[in-house]
């Protein structure tokens, strides 16, 4: 009896103890729910805590691969931590996207007690992965926003398992845009990872967000984080820069064209070479300066020898003419008292000329100077000495073809007797002029033939280059000559005034010296105040010894007649009132 009671009591105790232990397990509640929150290769199991959990409560998680043998629950040690209500199961579920899924369960543990297992309602498969994108890249070019969707690239993903490979087809993205601070507006649904957004008018900050989806799948989708970009006004766009560049090119082209046009016009406007006047070279100036020196030896006339020269004539226009009558370049003898020195008196010309004073150097003048000169004076440099004075000679009937414009030809006596020249210098000077004047007075009877051109000065200048004496020796004994060459038709060239031309008398005029014997020169009478001219024809009868070297002049002159005519026409003649004999 008693052993039977003891056995029954023992069984009862064991049952009670067992039930208590079992009650403890039951006491610990299990998590009410569990679920997966998964993104691309980020799988996390979440569960709710048990009510009245203590600080020592922790949870155990187990995982099972559904349909893959061997089928067993795999405990996850990493998740057994206190008060942790989630567990990252990515590493244990890497082949989620190629399998039928996983089953997971979780239970609470506190002390020695364990709760019941709690499992998610659904099998964890690829359908439960929430589709997301990593981000959006925005760039602005030419007023257009270029966007690139950044797909997730988890590091734990196995090689080859990319978003594009797993969700190979029917990927789509919904884009929303907003301008700060406005609201989002749906823009477009694209099927590629690149998109363009035309910039709305205005500038400012624009934000874009993207929501991915797979049209053949029922996965959940979430919007990405917004990406914002600030737009500033672009002035230096490609279009603007190209326009500016085109304008610059156009401007340069126009400037170049105008410059070329201006250059062309200037070139056309240049003077023809024939009209371009040479500037006087310094050497020419020197020669000019030197030349007049040789020609400058004008022997002044004695004013008293020409008392009848009226003041009016002195101040006449002819007197005031700028034509000096000399071939020299020196200023014309405008002054009332020119220094005009006559050479030695001419032995011919009706006695009006002194012996040796006036030698017919017309040959030298005419021969050598068959050139045209603008005045009638041909001054030949004395070759004996620089001090000698040139002699005046009438050049009546000289080579008028020379076109000498005046009637005065002053030729020095190369073999001259200096004393005679000196002494009769005045007379010499006077005589040719006087004859000329006399001849010039006859023009009332004869026509005015014009002026005799002077022989050109450059002859003398060229000859002057070496020196006065040399020149005179090189030539026919004559250097630069002052002479008045008489036109062929004009017998008596008028005695030139200080600067004017001497009129030429017609050929029929003859020199008729007033009683003066030919070849002799007498002191001028009171009526004759000008130089007398010796006729060329008197050369032969003259006492000159110089004539042999000279070509006979075609002078037809009668000194006396000349003087007579000179006397009568004294007033009307363009008198060289400024000429003074050196007498």
């Amino acid at each position: 009896m008693l052993p039977r009671l003891i056995v029954q009591l023992a069984a009862l105790l064991s049952l009670l103890l067992g039930s208590r232990a079992h009650g403890k397990d039951r006491e610990l509640p299990r998590p009410s729910s569990a679920w997966f929150e998964a993104e691309f290769f980020y799988h996390v199991l979440h569960w709710t805590p048990i009510p009245n959990q203590s600080e020592s409560t922790y949870y155990e998680v187990e995982l099972l691969r559904y349909g893959v043998e061997p089928i067993y629950w795999n405990p996850i040690r990493n998740c057994s931590q206190t008060l942790v209500l989630s567990c990252d199961l990515t590493m244990q579920t890497l082949d989620l996207y190629h399998s039928n899924g996983y089953r997971a369960r979780v239970r609470a543990v506190d002390g020695g007690q364990h709760s019941n297992w709690t499992s998610p309602n659904t099998r964890f498969s690829v359908d439960e992965v929430t589709l997301t994108v990593a981000g959006v890249k925005l760039e602005v070019h030419d007023g257009i926003i270029f966007g690139v969707i950044q797909l997730p690239r988890p590091k734990v993903a196995p090689a080859g398992d990319t978003y594009e490979s797993i969700f190979h087809n029917f990927r789509e993205y919904e884009i929303e845009v907003r301008k700060v601070p406005g609201r989002y507006k749906s823009h477009d649904k694209i099927k590629h990872e690149n998109f363009n957004l035309p910039v709305p008018r205005g500038v400012g900050e624009f934000c874009v967000r993207v929501k991915p989806s797979v049209s053949s799948r029922v996965n959940k989708e979430v919007w990405s984080k917004e990406e914002c970009i600030v737009l500033t006004p672009q002035y230096l766009t490609v279009t603007n820069l190209s326009i500016i560049f085109a304008f610059v090119l156009l401007l340069c082209g126009a400037l170049a064209f105008l410059l070329a046009l201006q250059l062309y016009v200037q070139r056309r406007g240049t003077l023809p070479t024939a009209l371009v006047f040479k500037k006087p070279s310094p050497f020419s100036l020197v020669s000019q300066l030197s030349c007049p020196e040789t020609q400058d030896t004008i022997h002044p006339l004695d004013e008293q020898a020409f008392p009848k020269v009226s003041p009016e004539l002195r101040n006449s226009e002819l007197h005031g003419s700028t034509d000096s009558g000399f071939s020299s370049t020196k200023p014309s003898l405008q002054t009332d008292e020119p220094q005009f020195h006559l050479p030695a008196p001419h032995p011919l010309a009706g006695g009006t000329l002194g012996k040796g004073a006036t030698q017919l150097l017309e040959n030298s003048c005419s021969s050598g100077s068959s050139k045209s000169t603008d005045s009638g004076i041909c001054l030949q440099e004395p070759n004996l000495s620089p001090g000698t004075e040139p002699s005046w000679e009438p050049q009546v009937g000289s080579d008028s073809q020379d076109q000498l414009d005046s009637g005065i030809g002053l030729v020095q006596n190369p073999e001259g007797q200096p004393e005679d020249v000196q002494g009769g210098s005045a007379l010499d000077h006077v005589s040719p002029l006087g004859s000329e004047v006399a001849a010039g007075e006859d023009p009332a009877a004869g026509a005015f033939q014009g002026y005799l051109k002077q022989t050109r000065c450059p002859e003398g200048r060229a000859a002057e280059a070496g020196g006065l004496e040399e020149e005179s020796s090189s030539t026919a004994g004559l250097g630069p000559r002052f002479r008045t060459c008489v036109d062929a038709e004009a017998d008596w060239p008028l005695p030139a005034l200080a600067k004017g031309y001497l009129k030429q008398d017609p050929p029929e005029m003859t020199l008729t010296p007033s009683g003066a014997p030919a070849g002799q020169w007498n002191p001028p009478t009171e009526d004759w105040s000008l130089l007398g001219l010796t006729s060329c024809g008197d050369l032969g009868a003259s006492d000159w010894s110089f004539a042999h070297d000279l070509a006979p002049l075609d002078c037809v002159a009668a000194p006396g007649g000349l003087l007579g005519s000179f006397d009568s026409d004294l007033v009307a003649l363009p008198l060289i009132s400024s000429l003074h004999s050196s007498e």
Binding site: G67, I71, Y72, R103, T122, S216, R217
Partner: protein
Amino acid sequence: MQAQGVSLCLLGVMLFLCSAHARGLRRCLISMDMRRIEESFQGIKNAIQAKDTFQNVTILSTSETLHSIKPLDVCCVTKNLLAFYVDRVFKDHQELSPQILRKISSIANSFLYMQKTLQRCQEQRLCHCRQEATNATRIIHDNYDQLEVRSAAIKSLGELDVLLAWIDKNHQGTSAA
């Protein structure tokens, strides 16, 4: 010239034969939008799979059956599985919720449409069942028989996503989605 003509003729004959053979090798594929079925299943997945208490047992057993199916057997296996679900699973499941029942009904109607498409292929002798396909179908039926009918039906409904994924993968060439 004659040699070129002969070679061209031979090439044409070969091409004809190849096309004929290719026609024979042409797969009978289902070309319908699977997305509607998947959307329907997603609506009942939570309720159906929550009732599956036998989590360490699988009926379709993809590792042993579905993953080893050759392309030539896809038509036969697809036809057999569609018949399995229509003849056994949908009939054995007793659903009380109308919302769930509506979705299950839409899935069943889609399966019937796919069955008709595959039947035309079978009449054209394009859906020949080999031994491997027959063996896979037998395994699935055996797994379904080891469980209680209600639990098996629930579990089979819960594994519809597996079947749809497999069909989508093997009939991808011509699916209209």
